[in-house]
């Protein structure tokens, strides 16, 4: 009887020792960190880092569909720089990102300020404001395309019946118009994200600060600029950076809205890279085109991280 109990005790204590060895190991910050970061790192290594390296290799070869090609160094990049369509695509991407981000920021901030008050139906309005962000881009882009359609546009109908136009607006038929339409749709889509995130930031600002400023005689604009804006800067920065990354590498919206036309005038880097890489089977060149996005995005993120670090230290 005693012997059995002793055996049991021994068994239990070795178990406990084994368990506690593991838990003791995980007490070390370093080991715990490694264990915690392992799953994320594994997925990102396998499904981003590795294919990224492959894509880098593609861009340095003349690989086409079904034909591995040979090493050509920077020839693909050089061809891209001399390609007038690519230069236009690059300009378009910068234009698109710049204006869409500004509109999203300004309108998102305004909307956030409005939503920060108390009013009837606040909850449902807040929730419904998110709808453009919720609906898959491809589907809403189709709806917008139909709204801009030269023959059936509901916009034209409204403007016509409001007496503002006599002939239709060339929404998507003119390169310049089409780019602005794309900016508008992107703004429509992205503004809710800005608004909700900035709203979250606004809610961390104590109303006492505003009261104090108001008591000091500050007007509404003054209060915004000197109290709200500086406190919101960190959030704003992060949201802007994420938005810039998404917008700069955008593909779906232009693909559905204009396909890159009319006359290749609304191509973005991503859509043009797709057309070259997949449409013509020139995988190496397509990869090189895509890679042009990377330095710009990297620079943007780097600036943000530096800025945030400075603020953290301040």
């Amino acid at each position: 009887m005693g012997g059995g109990r002793a055996a049991q005790d021994l068994h239990l204590s070795t178990e406990r020792a084994r368990v506690s060895r593991l838990t003791r190991a995980l007490e070390s910050e370093k080991l715990l960190a490694t264990a915690l970061l392992a799953p994320a790192t594994a997925i990102l290594l396998l499904f981003i880092a590795y294919p990224f390296v492959m894509a880098l290799w593609f861009s340095l070869t003349s690989i086409r569909v079904g034909d591995a090609g040979e090493f050509v160094g920077l020839a693909n990049f050089s061809k891209a720089i001399h390609d007038t369509i690519f230069r236009m695509a690059f300009e378009n991407t910068v234009f698109y990102t710049f204006w869409a981000t500004i509109f999203k920021l300004v309108l998102g901030m305004w909307l956030a300020l409005l939503l920060n008050r108390h009013f009837r139906f606040k909850r449902i309005i807040r929730a419904s404001m998110l709808l453009p962000f919720i609906i898959p881009t491809v589907l809403s882009a189709f709806a917008w395309r139909w709204m801009f359609d030269p023959t059936f546009s509901v916009m034209n109908w409204m403007l016509y019946h409001a007496g503002l136009i006599t002939d239709r607006m060339p929404f998507l038929s003119s390169g310049d118009w089409a780019m602005w339409c794309a900016v508008a749709v992107n703004t429509w889509r992205g503004m809710p994200f800005f608004a909700i995130t900035l709203l979250a930031g606004l809610q961390t600002i104590s109303p006492d600060l505003h009261e104090a400023a108001a008591l000091d005689g500050a007007g509404a604009w003054h209060r915004f600029w000197h109290v709200t804006w500086p406190l919101l800067l960190p959030v704003t920065l992060v949201v802007v950076v994420f938005s810039v990354i998404q917008t700069f590498s955008d593909f779906q919206l232009i693909y559905v809205l204009t396909g890159g036309g009319p006359a290749n005038s609304t191509h973005l880097i991503a859509t043009y890279a797709y057309q070259i890489g997949v449409g013509s089977g020139l995988l190496g060149e397509g990869a090189a085109l895509s890679l042009f996005m990377f330095p710009v995005l990297f620079a943007v993120v780097w600036v943000q991280l530096r800025f945030l670090k400075r603020m953290d230290n301040a």
Binding site: I43, F52, A127, M129, L130, W157, A200, G201
Partner: protein, 283 residues
């Protein structure tokens, strides 16, 4: 409370608010009208005298029925839902662990790893999808939901990690220290003390991940082959546009129905979403 005059309230609040609501929701109104409008009316050009794009006097369910019966829409809905839920769970778990490690633990290379994770966010999907197709087939995942369930986290994990990192930073260190003094392990403290407190942030990240995964297009287009494996965006686009003919009624109905599940999730959790962002934003 700051007092404002009536007209000021109208000018500064009601008017802009109404404009925002109109701008944001008009396309949805229009989509709904188109989805319930009979085909005959769909083809009225805007110049036609009797064109009435803003309302219809003969609402019909023919597009709903057509969508449900002649296409595999319900299957796509199920696929997208399943893939979104699983990718979100995977990304959340990875993001929670990684976010905690980066926010709370000190170890060499933590800064580097943090930056590295963000840098992966910069790699565009249009660049990766061709080499990824190779990898997916090598792992024999082609045309199965797992192809997407494992590749979607690549763009979900970075954001979840950032969000949760920010949120964890706002939680006072005292909570864990107390727990550890009471004998809890680091891991135990993380799981049993910190995570429950961070639920709003976790929900926030989850909702965002869910939305992004519902929205993805190019991977689903390339990795999924058969009609019964497609997701809603790919299915709607590939089956409802037969070249010359866009089945606009069904397209719009598909667009609306395709956003309903996500909208419902939001309607339950939007308060959590905002609170969660608030927390991570404070940090």
């Amino acid at each position: 409370m700051l007092i404002e005059r009536k007209w000021k309230k109208w000018f500064l609040f009601y008017l802009p608010m109404a404009a925002f609501i109109a701008f944001t929701l008009f396309p949805f109104y229009w989509m709904a009208i188109t989805a319930f409008r009979p085909d005959a009316e769909l083809y009225a050009t805007w110049r036609q005298p009797n064109a009435a794009p803003l309302w219809t006097l003969h609402p019909t369910l023919e597009h709903f029925v057509g969508l449900m019966q002649t296409t595999a829409f319900p299957t796509w809905l199920w696929n997208t839902m399943l893939i979104a839920v699983v990718s979100t769970l995977i990304s959340l778990v990875c993001g929670m662990f990684a976010g905690y490690a980066l926010a709370r633990l000190r170890f060499r290379g933590s800064e580097f790893l943090g930056t590295a994770i963000f840098v992966t966010y910069l790699v565009p999907q249009t660049l990766l999808f061709i080499p990824l197709a190779d990898i997916v087939r090598d792992l024999q995942l082609g045309n199965t939901p797992w192809a997407l369930m494992l590749t979607y986290p690549t763009f979900l994990i970075p954001f979840c990690t950032w969000l949760l990192m920010g949120y964890f930073k706002t939680i006072p260190k005292e909570l864990e220290e107390c727990a550890r003094i009471d004998g809890a392990t680091r891991f135990g403290a993380m799981v049993r003390i910190i995570f429950p407190v961070a639920v709003p942030g976790i929900l926030s990240a989850g909702i965002f991940a869910f939305t992004l995964s519902w929205n993805e297009f190019i991977y689903a287009l390339v990795f999924m082959a058969s009609a019964d494996q497609k997701t809603v965006p790919v299915g709607v686009v590939s089956e409802l546009i037969r070249g010359d003919i866009f089945f606009w009624g069904q397209l719009m109905m598909g667009a609306l129905l395709g956003s309903v599940p996500v909208a419902l999730v939001y309607s339950f959790f939007v308060e959590y979403y905002v609170t969660g962002l608030t927390g991570s934003v404070k940090g």
